[in-house]
């Protein structure tokens, strides 16, 4: 009895309109890069303070779920019933509720499917090719497979009943959303309970690219093969109702992820009896689903110092070779989570290790990994270890991990996060000799993705930012932290997201501001992951320093843990807790597409005129002598003697005294000048003359538009160097070009801007004075004598035979 209301087909459009402000610069070209952000940020209120903190009347809804779900393996179908208790903590009376029906995105009539552009570079899915080079548009076999899958399967939620204790409730499906009309309004502080019967067919992840789904393994020993099932967005979930937006009405288009309410879950998952389940929450009935041996191993794992197999590789192999018609029900409970996901397969081996976190919040956390043989031997070595490492590092930056479980599950999804559970994709290669091996790059992928996805359990699963609106709020913060955790794992691995890595993106003219709604972002990777992560690294290492940054970041995490922050709350908290005005930084990095390119244009060298003729006239004489001689005089000298040289007997005063000769006339004037000075003026001049310092005026141009501190490395004639950082505020009145006086005891020979590549400066050639040729990569590549250990191909060179051994052999060998 589903009624579907179509809304208009809305193509994603990316027109950027400039915000119009009450205050405008209508003459001249001045740009106020330091204009305070308060007029662009939402007005503070009793829910969210002007300092970015949780307001004294902050509220959020609570939604508790009790779900029975069954996996029908041979049909690859989910059938379930959810009992939902919705608690209205808002000051508003609610007459209806909105739910998310994410599976409806795969229906052919969904907004997501109908607004899918042909040959959209931002699409995640099989390949199609636009008309080009005189050829017609083309589609790939993979796209055909996707189309056929959509044709052959009825996708989307089937809702057979929505009811409360008194009977059926009317409901209206609007694309991937559903409105339930309540029997009576839920007043502030009240709760309502309802039930939904739902079912859907699971998509094949590798065909549809859906963040979840099944993966089929046709070559397993069991007849017909096996599947790994990853279940996410699998039950009708309440939309968020917020103080800043009311109900979230943006439909799920496949990109902007989820914004959800916290609540408590009890979920009974019924699967084939030989399946192993990994799930959000704590397993409440281990005696019903695990063998005694497995329960013993799990208990051992709690205090083990390395991962312990709960299901061994041999057991998993035996499992995947057989099959059963029996069913088992796994019961999970999860408190205070914003979502619930699970995985199930008879292919899984399972390892676990207790992480002794200490503290009061959650002294022991079980870190666990689930993976098929196709992930070995990589997974048993590193997955659970990476889960624990992530918690260690992230907790230092934020708060103690608050849940009892943290898991990494291998399946068809490249990387995706849910409370207490993450899906990660790395696999190994089966070689002809039966070994499974993996490359260094695959190992780095596993470490990187497990850290990243487990990190997401903190952001946004606990610090519950609105992913539908702002991808960067979880991906950017998390990419920053995953790199921090990465460097602490192994600094030999070149981790992502350093400022230098984002230069190519930032100088390109195909980008949108970070502050763009998730579904409209062009080039999501560098926009929502790389650039904000690099920005935070710069904030920590260069602008605030580690102490101030870490305090502010921890404060943000503490304030918004289990709550719902907005971008303004982040910006305001970081500024308020660090005590440093950062409006210019947020404006430049998050609200514009400017890049960093600061050049040092020129340097004027000044010297103090003493006004003492005995000093100054001599300096003038020297300056004159330093000028190159006249070429006429030089050449005439070769041709013969001048008149003066030919007549040495005719000399006068001016032959003995040059035009810089000082007379008492000048000396008297100088004495008069000194006598007229006030005492303090005389003292100042005398001291300056005595010190004879070097004065330099440096001119900088901001080519990129983004205002940043000017980081200077000064090199002196005596070989010494000095670091001088000019704060970003130097640009406040003249954002395009500034000059700075530097007074020093030593003679300056070289100035380099941003010598350590900290600021993502896109053109380093103009960072040098005097200018230095910075060769292009190709020029560097062609340089014959490049040195450096990194360039050695040790793996190949290792095969080289030792010359001495060979020559020994040659010496002793019989030449027959």
């Amino acid at each position: 009895m589903t009624r579907t209301v179509f809304s208009l087909l809305v193509a994603a459009f990316l027109t950027l309109t400039l915000p119009s402000h009450a205050i405008e610069q209508t003459k001249g070209t001045f740009k106020d890069k330091f204009r305070q952000l308060d007029e662009d940020l939402p007005t503070p209120n009793s829910y969210r303070t002007a300092g970015g903190d949780v307001g004294h009347e902050y509220w959020q809804q609570k939604v508790d779920y009790d779900i029975d779900v069954r996996l029908i393996e041979d049909q690859r179908r989910i059938v379930g019933t959810e009992r939902v208790r919705y608690t209205n903590n808002s000051p508003d009376t609610l007459r209806f509720l909105w739910l998310q029906l994410d599976q409806n995105r795969f229906r052919p009539d969904s907004i997501a499917e109908r607004s899918l552009l042909f040959a959209d570079p931002s699409r995640r899915g099989p390949q199609v090719e636009d008309a080009a080079d005189g050829k017609a548009p083309r589609i790939s076999i993979d796209e055909l497979r996707r189309q056929q899958f959509l044709d052959d399967h009825e996708l989307g939620f089937v809702l057979s009943s929505v009811r409360d204790g008194s009977g059926d409730l009317p409901f209206t499906v609007v694309d991937a959303n559903m409105r339930i009309d309540l029997r009576k309004p839920i007043r502030p502080g009240q709760s309502a309970t309802f039930e939904v019967d739902f079912a859907f067919n699971i998509v094949e992840e590798n065909t549809i690219v859906a963040r979840a789904g099944y993966e089929h393994f046709p070559d397993d020993a069991r007849e017909g093969g096996n599947d790994i099932f990853l279940l996410a967005q699998w039950f009708p979930r309440l939309h968020a109702y917020t103080d800043y937006e009311g109900w979230t009405n943006k439909p799920f288009l496949g990109r902007g992820e989820f914004t959800l309410e916290f609540g408590d879950y009890t979920v009974d998952i019924t699967v084939p009896a030989d399946h192993i389940v990994s799930s959000t929450g704590t397993l409440k009935n281990p005696a019903d689903v695990l063998t005694e041996e497995q329960r013993y191993r799990l208990a051992q794992a709690k205090t083990a110092d390395k991962p312990v197999f709960v299901v061994t590789p041999e057991e998993a192999l035996a499992n995947e070779a057989e099959g059963t018609t029996e069913q088992k029900t796994w019961r999970y409970e999860a408190k205070n989570v914003r979502d619930f996901a699970w995985a199930s397969s008879r292919k899984f081996m399972w390892d676990a290790q207790g992480y002794q976190q200490g503290g009061d919040v959650q002294p022991t956390v079980m870190a666990m990994s689930f993976y098929p043989k196709e992930g070995e031997p990589l997974w048993s070595k590193y997955s659970t270890a990476a889960v624990i490492h992530t918690m260690k590092v992230y907790s230092r930056y934020s708060f103690d991990y608050p849940y009892p479980i943290a898991q990494s599950v291998n399946g068809p999804v490249g990387g995706m996060e849910y409370p207490m559970i993450t899906f990660n994709g790395p696999r190994t290669e089966l070689q002809d000799d039966g070994d499974r091996t993996y490359s260094l790059a695959e190992k780095r992928y596993l470490l990187g993705v497990v850290i990243h996805e487990v990190g997401h359990i903190y952001f946004p699963m606990i610090v519950n930012s609105d992913e539908r609106q702002w991808t960067w709020m979880d991906e950017g913060l998390n990419s920053f932290l995953d790199a921090m955790a990465g460097w602490e794992w192994d600094p030999e691995i070149p981790w992502d997201n350093q400022p230098r890595d984002i230069v190519d993106y930032m100088k390109s003219d195909v980008q949108v501001p970070i502050m763009t709604q998730s579904d409209s972002v062009l080039r999501l990777g560098p926009n929502a992951y790389g650039k904000p992560a690099a920005a935070l690294m710069i904030l920590r290492e260069t602008i605030l320093g580690r102490e101030l940054f870490d305090f502010a970041f921890r404060e943000y995490s503490r304030r918004w843990r289990f709550k719902r922050p907005t971008p303004a709350d982040f910006f305001r908290t970081m500024e308020e807790a660090s005590g440093v005005d950062l409006d210019w930084f947020w404006r430049g990095w998050f609200y514009t597409t400017d890049h960093v390119d600061i050049s040092i244009d020129r340097i004027w060298k000044l010297r103090l005129d003493t006004l003492n003729p005995d000093i100054d006239y001599d300096r003038r004489r020297q300056e004159n002598a330093d000028k190159p001689a006249s070429v006429i005089v030089d050449r005439n000298a070769k041709d013969g003697k001048t008149w003066v040289e030919q007549n040495p007997d005719i000399r006068d005063f001016y032959d003995e005294n040059d035009r810089f000769t000082v007379t008492n006339k000048e000396r008297n004037e100088y004495q008069l000048f000194l006598a007229d000075l006030e005492d303090w003026e005389r003292a100042t001049v005398e001291r300056a003359v005595a010190e004879d310092k070097h004065y330099y005026v440096l001119q900088f141009t901001n080519h990129g538009g983004l205002v940043m501190p000017i980081l200077l490395q000064l090199t002196y004639a005596d070989g010494g160097t000095e670091r001088l950082d000019l704060p970003a505020e130097i640009w406040r009145r003249y954002p395009d070009r500034v000059k700075k006086l530097i007074v020093t005891d030593r003679e300056l020979t070289q100035v380099v801007v941003d010598p350590n590549w900290e600021t993502a400066d896109t053109d380093v050639e103009n960072n040098h004075f005097p200018r230095r040729i910075v060769p292009s990569r190709i020029e560097m590549f062609k340089t014959p004598d490049r040195e450096g250990f990194e360039r050695r191909d040790i793996i190949q060179d290792m095969k080289t035979e030792l010359e001495s051994e060979k020559s020994d052999e040659e010496k002793t060998g019989d030449p027959e």
Binding site: I141, D142, I493, V510
Partner: protein, 168 residues
């Protein structure tokens, strides 16, 4: 007609790799086309993520391909890039690129090529199919840098060719 359609389809016949999907960052290759006044060459510098190249090489050259261990496999991949990338002037006349080489640095594989600059060029047309042929998520950022100005495009399965004009 039918034969032609099929053949074109078959040229794209690669199965979807386990692409970095969902919440994991989508990767991009970057190609810089630098008009280097100092050398008088237009320099083409492709930067690929090693991890992508590794998967691609296995797909292209067989399961045993190993970029880190076998320099020959790196060269094979560089040859593949030379075959799938081309440069023309604004009127479509091919610009003959000379292969310069390839190298691995940190987590990237770099592939280099160059050609002498012709002062008459009013723009460059780029065709770039490297990795795009292999999986759906691939996007190749192009930065054409000339006289301190950067002009960009993103090429992908949807668009593999772009004309970047020097005229404002």
């Amino acid at each position: 007609m039918r034969r032609r359609f099929c053949r074109e389809l078959v040229t794209l016949l690669f199965s979807v790799l386990a692409a970095a999907a969902a919440a994991h960052e989508q990767k991009e290759a970057v190609t810089t086309v630098l008009f280097n006044e100092r050398t008088g060459n237009v320099e083409v510098m492709h930067r690929f993520l090693l991890h992508d190249v590794e998967h691609a090489s296995k797909k292209l050259f067989g399961a045993q391909a190993d970029l880190l261990k076998t320099p020959g496999d790196r060269e094979k991949f560089a040859d593949y890039v030379f075959e799938t990338f081309s440069l023309q002037d604004e009127s479509g006349t091919p610009i003959t690129l000379t292969a310069v080489g390839s190298e691995i640095e940190s987590r990237f594989l770099w592939v280099y090529a160059e050609a002498p600059i012709n002062k008459d060029w009013r723009g460059v047309n780029l065709k770039h199919g490297a990795l795009i042929d292999l999986w759906p998520d691939q996007a190749n950022l192009i930065n054409v840098e000339r006289g301190g100005v950067t002009r960009s495009a993103v090429l992908s399965g949807g668009q593999r060719e772009v004309l970047i004009s020097f005229d404002d």
